[in-house]
């Protein structure tokens, strides 16, 4: 079932077209990876899809309702968004940071209702954060912070999860862990949209891949049809080979 549809979306910044007539559909229960070189417009696409940036042309709709027509608090409950290098700017405890993910469901004043308190505790446990619950979020390692931010984004059980470069700066173990969690969310029925530079990871976890270059969609579709030697080489202007071997294959960079 299609959840989020972008229709002829264009974004102009100054004299530059950052996004140029984008048509993409994201579906529930599927994980879509957005790949492409630096400056291709991936982050802009994600902000537009999250409803945080109003495009100069085109429309975005969630279940056939235009995003702009959805109340911002209701939209905040239905979709979660994690920007690049998401962090916390005050030494607030991990528990409180995760609870902030429930902010759109809270009354304007007063504390956290008991049902939501259990939700926070469950999410902390699910992301192995129970032991860190009282630690200030500014004192965490990169991997721990990435887990906290993922927990923050998913505590509200969003229908659509949009994540920009969640694995940047993480070691291989944490990359795999983040990948597994994103996969699990998609399997749970969420529409997961994630911008990735790690092509191996994209190939492993994504159902669909959107390949972007120069503000346009170069190719989009099921992973095996987009992650091919030809498309990747054209996408990055570099000789890239997708090899298949007994262990699932991988991405090879040729010529250096």
């Amino acid at each position: 079932m299609s959840a989020l549809i972008l229709n002829h979306v264009s974004v102009v910044r100054g004299s530059r077209r950052v996004l140029d007539g984008i048509d993409v559909t994201f579906e529930r229960g599927r994980l879509a990876a957005v790949i492409g070189p630096n400056g291709a417009g991936k982050s802009t696409l994600l902000s537009v899809a999250a409803g945080l940036l109003t495009p100069n042309a085109g429309s975005i709709s969630l279940d056939a309702v235009p995003l702009a027509a959805i109340d911002r608090r209701i939209l905040a409950r239905r979709r979660a968004y994690l920007p690049q290098r998401a962090g916390v700017e005050w030494p607030i405890s991990v528990e409180r940071v995760v609870a902030l993910g429930l902010a759109p469901s809270l009354p304007a004043f007063g504390g956290l209702p008991p049902t939501l308190q259990t939700r926070v505790a469950d999410t902390l446990a699910q992301f192995d954060l129970t032991d860190l619950a009282t630690r200030p979020a500014t004192e965490l390692s990169g991997g721990e912070l990435a887990r906290v931010m993922m927990a923050r984004a998913t505590v509200g059980t969003p229908e659509v999860l949009i994540v920009d470069e969640p694995t940047a700066g993480l070691d291989p173990r944490h990359v795999i862990e983040v990948g597994r969690r994103l996969r699990a969310l998609a399997d749970g029925g969420c529409a997961v949209i994630v911008a990735l530079h790690d092509l191996d990871l994209a190939r492993r976890i994504a159902d669909d891949v959107v390949a972007m270059k120069g503000g346009r969609v170069l190719a989009a579709g099921p992973t095996q049809t987009v992650v091919t030697s030809e498309i990747l080489s054209a996408l990055y202007d570099a000789p890239i080979e997708v090899v298949a071997d007994g262990e699932g294959g991988g991405i090879r960079y040729r010529g250096w």
Partner: protein
Amino acid sequence: MNRWLISVLLALLVAASVVALLAGTVWLSPVRVLASIMGGEAYLPALIVTQIRLPRLVLALAIGASLGLSGAVLQGLTRNPLAEPGLLGITAGGSLGAVIAIYFGFATGFALATPMFALVGAFGTALIALLLARRGGNLSLILTGVAISSIASAVTMLALNLAPDPFANYEIMAWLMGTLADRSWDHVALSLPFVLLGCALLCATAPALDALALGEAQAESLGTHVARTRVLALAGTALAVGASTAVAGSIGFVGLIAPHLVRPLVGHQPRRVLAPAAIAGALLVTIADTASRTLVFNGTPLNIGVFTSLIGTPFFLWLVLHLRGRTP
């Protein structure tokens, strides 16, 4: 934790207020004051308390709470630990308005001319800062505030330089140092409505401040209206601190210090800082005012702004050193 902290701060505030009513050139005993107010034999103590010290105390509480609250809101909004109300040029603008009133002699014709001109000056600079920083982020807001503040200070200096007579010069200096001496119920009536309205606007930013701890993009994605929050914070600060500056002159550092004093005690959560910071600000100004009228050097009482700056500057230095140790 929060409730406990607020109770302790309120208890301290009540104690400081009682001392503020009894201390001064004439030291009063609580028994005498109560007897006098109840219609006892001596009329003077009641007069001193209700007509001189009570309006001064009310102003100290209102001004301190405004400074503490707006400091906490601005630090939460900009996520900058050095943010404070003076940063937006409101204090400098208020001073400029007052200086104009004194310089051109309006102040001699009408007692409330100085605070009224100061009010206009404070609102004027806040409006300019708000319009100029409407687009762009926190940095643009801070830089605009600094620029406007500098312009207002430059014109104030010019007025000092060209002051027609030494009395105007003296009055301007006294105003720039901040004081609550000789303030009456008229001053309370002039400033309190603006202070209350401003504080209400500042409190309305509370839910947004927590989300802003995650940065503007995440706050916006959580349903926070970041632009509206900025307007609320600036308008609230302009009203509350502008009205405060208008009646008392510039009282530095309280808006900077008060939030930092209470922040570690509430787990650094921006919205929980607000109420304790307001009470701490009121406490600081009340104590500073009491001290400024009881500590008399060679017959000259200390000005309240001088007192808060003397305490505030070392704190500021400590803050800079402390932050340097924590950030790479």
